[in-house]
């Protein structure tokens, strides 16, 4: 099997990766780079726990070949905070008690970030639609929606 040599920019840092072509972005993030904040579960783009941002857009890392990401920018939950400070979304999830078991949360936050980057003043219905591709099996959706709306207000306040 011919390996593919990739240059991926992950959380602002360049990584040279040599990998088999069938391996997904999720495989490379978790197994090769140790970035285990991105979770693995259904592997069929149903649950959304593997969501990362690829050039700013939410994608399911479980069904994206690493090779498809050559030369592109990836943001994972590890890269969201800056200078030791949590991102307003992360802080809002804590403040609203939106985290139960926590497994869906990194992806929830990244989906919310991609959405708020394009829609800074959403309604609750918009937030719920934005997070449709992310399942929380603790079913804590209300507090998650509340947290995203609070983060949207905080981000607007800072602008």
């Amino acid at each position: 099997m011919t390996k593919v040599a990739l240059t991926l920019t992950i959380n602002g840092q360049r990584h040279e990766v040599l990998t088999e072509p069938h391996r997904t972005l999720l495989d490379v993030l978790r197994a090769d780079l140790g970035l285990t904040g991105t979770k693995e579960n259904c592997l069929e783009a149903e649950c959304g726990v593997c969501t990362v941002l690829l050039d700013g857009r939410a994608v399911n890392a479980c069904i994206l070949l690493a090779a498809q990401c050559q030369g592109r920018q990836v943001l994972t939950i590890e890269g969201l905070g800056r200078d030791g400070q949590l991102h307003p979304l992360q802080q809002a999830f804590i403040d609203h008690g939106a985290v139960q078991c926590g497994y869906c949360i990194p992806a929830m936050i990244l989906s919310a970030k991609a959405y708020l980057d394009e829609h800074p003043a959403p309604t609750e219905a918009h937030v719920r639609e934005a997070l449709a591709g992310n399942l929380c099996r603790c079913t804590g959706y209300q507090k998650i929606a509340d947290a995203v709306l609070a983060a949207a207000r905080e981000l607007a306040h800072r602008r």
Partner: protein, 290 residues
Amino acid sequence: MSFEYHEPTSLAEAVDLGARFGADGRFLAGGTDLIIQIRRGKLRLRHVVCLHRVPGLDGIAANGSVTLGALVTHRALERHSAFQGGLRALVEGAEVVGGHQVRNVGTVGGNIVNASPAADVTPVLLALDTAVTYAGPGGERTLPLDGFLVGPGQTALRPGELLTGLRFSALPGRSATAFLKAGRRKAMEISVVCMAARLTLDAAGERCAEARIALGAVAPTTRRARAAERALEGRAPTPDVLRDAGRLAAVESQPISDVRASARYRTLLVETLVTRALTRCLERIREAAS
């Protein structure tokens, strides 16, 4: 699921690779269906030919007639300014596919080649009389989408051939489209029934000049309800006439019972959704005229 990975940088190179690998290879567009099929062991491939470096496959040209490159994403369909008016059914079909993560990556070309009978954008494209263009060693061919869809997961593509784009004509005046979907939840749902309608009124705005009704998830392929279309043409679109069209479409559908719904329930849904979508088309034509 090991395979060799190829990234052609021109259409000619992609066609060459397709011809060389035949049934041992597949083209990769967004991969939202293909990667899952490979992982499930449903597809055993020796070669995957990724198309994202082939220039010109991701464009939308909407000046009168509309051309969609095979790699146009559902996200791009949802947001294009040319599809917010009479062609709104394209947006309505695209925005219910998966979650944002899938719509950001999944392509309209990949969705057609995957040939799910429940695909949501396909009925809209059928209602627009879309033609499919594909390329192979013998050159480029074009077929009506209607004839291109052969069965569940099956199209007229031969191994190594590559869908390059879709094209449909500008909507005539006094026309509108609508898409409706029935599922058990509002998002992340494979359709129990999905359908699209297109209605064009005559110059006086009094009779149906042309109608298209396309049904998803009620037959081995997405297909038109031709008897229902014929029943509309030349008649005034009264509530009774629209209801008759719904009844005829239900008779024409051939649903199965499965985990999502019984055949009987699907038939009832077809009748209701077709009538409702035609009514919506009529409202939209009148709104645009006022």
